[in-house]
Symmetry: C2
Subunit: 226 residues, 2 copies
Amino acid sequence: MTKAVVLLSGGLDSATALAWASKEQGWECYTIAFDYGQRHRIELKASEEIAKAFASKQHQVIAVDLQAIGGSSLTSDMDVPKDQAETTAIPSTYVPARNLIFLSLASAFAETVGANKLVIGANVVDYSGYPDCRPEFLDSFARTVALGTKAGVQGADFEVVAPLLTLNKSDIIKLGLSLGVDYAMTRSCYDPKDDGTPCGHCDSCHFRNQGFAELGRTDPLLSRSK
Amino acid sequence: MTKAVVLLSGGLDSATALAWASKEQGWECYTIAFDYGQRHRIELKASEEIAKAFASKQHQVIAVDLQAIGGSSLTSDMDVPKDQAETTAIPSTYVPARNLIFLSLASAFAETVGANKLVIGANVVDYSGYPDCRPEFLDSFARTVALGTKAGVQGADFEVVAPLLTLNKSDIIKLGLSLGVDYAMTRSCYDPKDDGTPCGHCDSCHFRNQGFAELGRTDPLLSRSK
């Protein structure tokens, strides 16, 4: 049976990616989340809930201190930008080399459980200029893992799979709904309020709200929060 | 001025790599060490001491929980192998994707401080079959970083430099001595005794002892420990 490690942040995209790997591909899924000093720590709880809902074989939370590195409004003392005009610049929410670090940790986990696929909810539409969501990067990473791990050297095939890469947010939500994702479980906000409800104004809230609006739906998380 | 991030484990190789980058190349060096649940935690203290000795601009220790991933005798409950016959097999001290993870974290640090070189003391002679010390891996990693980071996308040149890659242990020691490395500061043992002295029997001790023996020298660490 094909085994996959799914990067499960607890957000809308990663939940959909897990549903796709598990239900549509029928892969045996292992899930990994990262406790990296993010402001939006509520996503870690969401991640655990979603892992259970899709019968993750093993859900692993790895602590990695990206706060010590700094350089991003998601982990440091900078403010998260709100109600930004659209821009192609790399925003302050970019965490230096975050996907590189997360994929590296996921590939170690994959090696340990014998998985040869890494599934990531990366997306070129809403990545807002994050360079580590680009397909060139993901392919180059897969080649690097094949060269640098025991499994790869022993001939294992290795692939980074990004099923949502070119979908827009409403297509992602449509896909997830068709696969039984309960989006009330997922968290996207970069800067949630103290009670855990989304701020409604960061880039991530904007993309999410827009996605549901395009489908003529209300985000079930908003009803849950009320 | 060229800025470099040097991966400084506190071992003999990384200390020599730092000396090379700092003294021989004249680069402004930032150092990074990893608290990853290793048995040989004494190397973290060594790392700090060596960073100071070579005037590291900033020494950063990053906590990353590789123990949660498991799969290696260096972090889990397996025994560290002692007095092994030479073999080309990948040993149990191999930590899945360790250099990949460490280089990824170092590249985030590099991006934050504006460095475009990563210096690693990787070595093909004593890597004992660790796939993530191979030059193909290191080159592929550098390409991946260039594709996946803000600095890379903005055109920064990016290089992983492994100055010790093809040197044997005695050549490394000779190089380090010529650059003023005090090897009494460095720690190599995978499984030190409770008082911090080296076990003398793991692969790492064997390589180190052999290196000093070939130069007709005594390891200054052994005099320090007495």
